[in-house]
């Protein structure tokens, strides 16, 4: 079994542990089928689909259990609160990233020779410092404001990856 398939299988097993009891049989069924998917690429898509299926099933079960409208309203309020928290986390991380980028651009504009003397500065200001700030903020907020922490990480991970790839591909320029 390839490393990709092993990882996919482990992720699905992790889901199995957290899925509700009624969907467990189905989660096991999907996991078993993973062994019969031919290619690794198809196995990943199969696993992603399984995650979506279990998620849909769990949400439907939860809505079914929350039969009365009062509890359903509470659930919806909770979802809205969490979504707003995540959005504010994304916004906070976005503002911080824009500030870091702006500061770097300003420093280069006012002192062009500064860029030549400090080739490591973009790495520091665009990757190291924001990522450190994002991680610290996410850890600090993870207990009391988990949704905001998730929002920060939601933006921080693709942003950090993008900056790292951009700097790596333009390093030779």
């Amino acid at each position: 079994m390839s490393a990709v398939r092993q990882l996919t299988s482990k992720l699905l097993r992790g889901l199995l542990r957290h899925s509700s009891l009624s969907s467990n049989e189905w989660a096991i069924a999907m996991l078993r089928e993973l062994d019969f998917v031919e290619s690794d690429g198809a196995a990943i898509f199969w696993a992603i689909g399984c995650l979506a299926a279990i998620f849909k099933f769990s949400v439907r079960q939860s809505c079914f259990r929350l039969g009365d409208s009062g509890r359903r309203k509470d659930l919806m309020n909770g979802i809205v609160r969490r979504a707003l928290g995540a959005l504010s986390g994304v916004a906070i991380a976005g503002v911080l990233a824009i500030c870091a980028f702006g500061l770097l651009q300003l420093s280069f504009r006012f002192s062009p020779s500064f860029a030549e003397r400090t080739p490591w500065l973009p790495w520091l200001t665009l990757i190291a410092m924001p990522i450190a700030a994002f991680i610290l903020a996410a850890v600090a907020l993870s207990r009391n404001r988990r949704s905001i922490a998730v929002g920060i990480l939601l933006l921080a991970i693709p942003l950090g990856t993008h900056f790292a790839m951009h700097l790596a591909t333009h390093a030779s320029d």
């Binding site: 069924a29 089928e33 399984c50 849909k56 099933f57």
Partner: protein, 102 residues
Amino acid sequence: VKLRVSRQTLQVLNAFLEDPPEWKHGYGISQTTGLKSGTLYPILMRLAERKLLETSWDASEIGKPPRHLYRLTAAGLQFAREGSRSRPTGRVSGAALGGMKS
């Protein structure tokens, strides 16, 4: 009672209609219908919930973990046949379900 049946559900039902008594695997149905697992399994779960589909575990292959198998029940077979007849609209009479509502 009229039940709304999606195009994908009809595809799944038609896959079972090809050889009704035969037990089928999830991946096999996915290959036959072209449906992804995220679409296929919720359909299978709903059909099983409504007793249109019976499930079983296939432990015949020694040394391999058992696979989940699916087959239409008598009610499921009637429902599928009605579904494939009224295919353009995807509307199926609930009589096949014994009055069950979606």
